[in-house]
């Protein structure tokens, strides 16, 4: 939900309509973490894996966020952590969108037995608390970031299946689809050329926000011990280290702030996108 800011008229003329404060703030934060993903060595002089100094040092100008129990630089580990979380979140969301769109499109366009079966599977999957299902799948696949990612796709695709199905059901009734049917277009062509292109807006908004939520869930799985394996610099695992070295608060601080800012960032962008595509929803 957006801040309803009444812009002065002069500003409204100068800025394109998608430039809202939330979009700019969110974009800046996400760009920073994208930069950290691509060029972490520009942000931190230390390696995330090697000994950087005395162990458990509090933050100092040398080590901005101190050092952890193995003498590694926490700031370096925080920056390099983006390399784990961000690409995996993108991969998970893209996979979930692809699977969910395919399933939702079939269920919405074809209906029938297959459609009903897909939607029952969606209902059942969504009736588990997300983390329990993800934990069950991740545990049975064995710990590791890749398996945690698979577990998250299993949990996430039904959300898009439901979303896309609802869209397809609506678009399918429009006249241009009828025209395409009359012209003898194949089902596949109708779906991909005439229906799905009109369904992508809510999917895009939802996917943007879900990037943040997937990062949260992935970090949660790592925190529990089902995601990244040591010594991988991963945010959830770093916070888990922080619970062991309770009195050395800085070990978990950077990772916590990293997750918080990146999830906030994606939420802001999602808000901005929604205001742009659907101005009525902002109150």
């Amino acid at each position: 939900m957006a801040m309803a800011i009444i812009r002065p008229k002069t500003m409204r003329r100068r800025l394109p309509s998608w430039v809202s404060p939330s979009f700019v703030i969110g974009g800046a934060v996400v760009l920073f973490w994208l930069f950290a993903t691509l060029f972490p060595h520009w942000l931190s002089a230390f390696s995330p894996l090697d000994l950087a100094g005395r162990r458990l040092q509090p933050p100092s100008p040398d080590h901005l966020l101190g050092t952890d129990a193995l003498g590694r630089d926490v700031f370096a580990r925080t920056v390099y952590g983006a390399r784990q979380s961000l690409p995996i979140a993108v991969l998970v969301v893209i996979s979930a969108v692809l699977i969910g769109t395919a399933a939702g499109a079939i269920a919405g366009y074809r209906g029938g037995f297959v459609g009903a079966a897909i939607m029952r599977l969606v209902d059942i999957t969504l009736s588990f608390p997300a983390i329990l299902l993800a934990m069950a799948v991740a545990a049975s696949l064995g710990p590791g970031l890749g398996n945690a990612a698979i577990a998250m796709v299993v949990v996430w695709w039904p959300i898009y299946a439901r979303l896309v199905r609802a869209q397809v059901l609506e678009v399918r009734e429009r006249e241009h689809v009828e025209a395409a049917v009359a012209a003898g277009a194949s089902d596949f062509r109708i779906l991909t050329k005439h229906i799905l292109p009109l369904c992508w807006t809510p999917v895009l908004i939802s996917a943007t926000m879900d990037l943040g939520q997937v990062i949260l869930l992935g970090a949660s799985l790592s925190f529990i011990g089902l995601g990244a394996r040591p010594p991988t610099p991963e945010w959830g695992a770093m916070i888990s280290d922080g619970t062991v070295y309770f009195y050395n608060w800085w070990i978990a601080f950077g990772a916590g702030m990293a997750i918080l800012t990146i999830v906030l960032g994606f939420n802001f962008i999602g808000d901005g996108l929604r205001d742009y595509f659907d101005p009525r929803s902002s109150k």
């Binding site: 069950a136 943040g212 978990a252």
Partner: protein
């Protein structure tokens, strides 16, 4: 109405079967070998021990066979035996469920009160500083990793300022009261032990605050959006014209009319609370089913994992049903046909 509840009740077993099947399949059709959780690495080389363990835990049977046995046992309330605790999973879960419910109910109380009040304020003082603060507060709640927030609050309030107790449900020096309801706060009161009651209550504050915060945000957003709509209706104008005070207008006239959407989000929130409870319990050493699930997942204790997953799904289904029933009371126009 009764008819509707009956139909839902009849559909329940089928949905439950779906839940059980999915939980069973997802945890068994994988490369993970449950034997590694039972037999030590050295004994793995001894075919006799491996065969005996397989026979003991029914792992020598085919997957369909195991599935049928599992479902048949489940009907009688038997969820198998935990690899780790070597006790029946159903008994483990029953022993730990009250702790989770206590936490979730406290969090729900905190989250919904804060959320509703904040939403009302944000809508009433729309676009003001209050509104923006409420927005930030709710965004923070839905974006912060709950396990980190818990850790940070523990550090500040327990370690640094000694204002609140650390992890757990009761100070280790106190004798726990006899478990009647399983709710520590209630049991200490029933046992007539005010010192323990105070301690149990203090232990509950931080975890329920952390968990409540994560849901207060989504509740406040829904309340705000619906209030904005309602406050522009004519009956509000009428109420004001008749000289009703602003408090009366908001609480008696407007709030009643947003009960249905608020109930929906409260029901939906509950599922989210279970998810959050898993992580909160892990941070606060809270002996509920959430921390049980974490221990089970870490040690590949499959009977326990499947059991907790099924119970989580069931809790969600039951909440949905209760939410639907609550609609009818909130809005007599809903006839549920």
């Amino acid at each position: 109405m009764l008819n509707y509840i009956m139909r839902r009740a009849v559909a329940m077993p089928f949905i439950l079967l779906g839940i059980v099947t999915l939980a069973f399949l997802l945890t068994t059709i994988t490369k993970g070998d449950p034997l590694t959780a039972i037999v030590s690495e050295r004994q793995m080389n001894n075919p006799e021990i491996v065969a005996a363990a397989k026979a003991r835990w029914g792992l020598d049977r085919s997957l369909p066979e195991r599935y049928v046995i599992y479902v048949a046992n489940l009907v009688t309330g038997d969820m198998g035996t935990s690899f780790v605790t070597r006790r029946p999973v159903s008994r483990d879960i029953a022993a730990r469920l009250p702790a989770t419910l206590e936490l979730v109910i406290a969090a729900m109380a905190i989250g919904s009160t804060t959320g509703i009040l904040l939403g009302l304020l944000a809508a009433y003082y729309r676009d003001s500083v209050i509104d923006q603060t409420a927005r930030l507060f709710s965004l923070f709640g839905s974006s912060v990793p709950i396990f980190w927030l818990g850790l940070a609050l523990l550090f500040v309030f327990s370690v640094h300022y000694h204002l609140l107790p650390g992890p757990g449900r009761l100070d280790a020096r106190l004798t726990p009261p006899p478990s009647l309801t399983g709710f520590m706060v209630v049991d200490t009161l029933l046992a007539g032990n005010p010192a323990a009651f105070k301690d149990a209550l203090l232990h509950l504050i931080l975890p329920s605050l952390v968990l409540g915060w994560t849901v207060a945000g989504s509740i406040s957003r829904i309340v705000r959006a619906n209030m904005l709509e309602i406050m522009e209706r004519e009956f509000i104008l009428t109420a004001r014209a008749k000289g009703a005070g602003e408090l009366r207008v908001v609480f008696r006239h407007a709030l009643r009319n947003i009960l249905v959407p608020v109930l929906t989000v409260l029901g939906y929130t509950f599922a989210y609370l279970i998810t959050g409870a898993v992580l909160t319990e892990a941070v606060f050493g809270w002996p509920g089913i959430g921390s049980y699930a974490v221990i089970a997942a870490r040690s590949l204790d499959f009977p326990a994992i499947i059991g907790v997953t099924i119970v989580g799904g069931m809790m969600f289904l039951i909440t949905n049903l209760l939410t639907d029933i609550a609609y009818v009371f909130a809005n007599p126009r809903v006839r549920l046909n």
